[in-house]
């Protein structure tokens, strides 16, 4: 009996009325979307990265409350297996990495192929090429790691365009109602311009677009730790039960696409993309059993990636 269960469509949204009218993060977002963005258009990417990095370090030193929250979540997940000092170090680094990701978003559209090539390292490209050799497309399974956008932009630049499957607008729990009303859509538009090649899960053609990309022997990236989906299944993850989307695996079952776990770590100044070996699936006679037998194996791989690169996993920033 699979431990997972099929649930209805869920959306990790919250009650907007419970947010304050104005929050500190609103100011940061305002600064990010206007003065910093104007600066980004005027300055060379390298200089902007340096300025951004300085600001991120300053923010890191001031964001004591945020750091405590992250430490708490890390402690809950890692129980007694990671020492207190290491937790503190991870949380500090997490906050810096989160800031550097925002800086990367600002400069990504301006980085050339050559600039990205200089800062990149790829491990296991042969695994991706082997998966593509079957001609049925490849689903790259990944988690919410900070360097994903940099990694995917790089892949696109070297001839491996990746279709990202995204949620149209994520909830920002730290934003006030004013910013949610006036700034959030601007931020969403900004991110859309950065990601470029994407399909929203809310798009009624989402699965057909995925299928079309796979049939062209293309690449589709799925964040296994995203949990807005019609098909969710629960599995243990980082010490607690968590819902995982299973729709992508149903498409894999139907289309015969290959699945390759991908991990992007670092930032635009220096990043590494890992491609693991193609997932060898347990073959089954029906879709439901296929999903329940194979999804836990993919979840385990993701959990391992988070363990190994905890400071790079974006979702510590939200309550799990």
């Amino acid at each position: 009996m699979p431990s997972g269960m099929r649930l209805r469509w869920t959306n990790a949204g919250g009650n907007m009325n419970s947010s304050p009218l104005f929050a500190t993060k609103d100011l940061l977002l305002l600064f990010y979307l206007f003065p910093f963005r104007i600066l980004a258009e005027m300055l060379p990417a390298k200089i902007l990265r340096r300025i951004g990095s300085l600001m991120v370090h300053l923010y890191g030193a001031l964001a004591v409350g945020k750091q405590r929250d992250i430490e708490e979540r890390l402690r809950l997940a890692f129980k007694d297996t990671v020492e207190g000092k290491e937790i503190e170090k991870l949380a500090k680094q997490y906050i810096l990495n989160a800031g550097l990701k925002d800086v990367d978003d600002m400069i990504l559209n301006r980085l050339t192929r050559e600039e990205l090539l200089q800062c990149s390292q790829m491990i296991g490209l042969e695994n991706l090429e082997r998966a593509l050799s079957f001609g049925k497309g490849v689903v790259l399974v990944s988690g919410h790691f900070f360097a994903n956008r940099v990694g995917k932009r790089f892949l696109s630049e070297i001839g491996f365009p990746v279709l990202s499957v995204r949620k149209s607008s994520s909830r920002h729990p730290a934003l006030g109602r004013l910013a949610t009303k006036h700034l959030k859509s601007r931020y969403v538009n900004f991110v859309n311009e950065v990601v470029r090649d994407y399909v929203f899960i809310e798009d009624k053609d989402c699965t057909l677009k995925i299928l079309a990309r796979l049939r062209g022997n293309g690449l589709v990236d799925i964040h296994v730790d995203g949990h807005s989906s019609y098909h969710l299944m629960e599995y243990p993850f980082l010490g607690r039960k968590r819902s995982f989307p299973s729709g992508f695996l149903r498409i894999v079952y139907l289309s015969g696409a290959a699945v390759v776990p991908m991990l992007c770590i670092g930032d635009s100044g220096s990043f590494t993309i890992f491609f693991e070996e193609m997932v060898q699936f347990i073959k089954t006679s029906d879709q439901e059993t296929f999903v329940s037998k194979n999804l836990p194996r993919i979840v385990e791989k993701l959990e391992y990636q988070v363990w190994e690169h905890a400071d790079q996993w974006e979702l510590w920033g939200i309550k799990l």
Binding site: K204, C206, T207, L208, R215, G216, Y230, H231, R250, L254
Partner: protein, 91 residues
């Protein structure tokens, strides 16, 4: 029954089977909007496409993989008919 009606009935059957609908074939009209049948489950659309391709031994072109192309029985059967004609002609 004309060839066109026969094709539509086969599509109706595939629709009912692949989506596990609790409907009778005659309850799906030529103009019934498939979106209403798919509901929120977008995987069902993929299941339907794959089942169609298997049944008619065709491949639906990537550019036709949109909900507007799969909107209703009228449009879909005309498209499938055309693909079958081209396939038979090229044999």
């Amino acid at each position: 029954m004309t060839a066109g009606e026969s094709l539509k009935n086969r599509i109706r059957r595939i629709l009912i089977d692949s989506l596990e609908l609790k409907l009778k074939e005659n309850e799906i009209r030529d103009s019934t909007n498939f979106d209403d049948l798919f509901g929120l489950d977008s995987i069902a659309v993929v299941e339907f496409v794959i089942a169609l391709e298997k049944e008619f031994e065709i491949t639906i072109e990537s550019e036709r993989l949109t909900s507007s192309s799969l909107k209703n029985l009228d449009g879909l059967s005309a498209y499938i008919e055309k693909v079958i004609v081209i396939k038979n002609r090229d044999k």
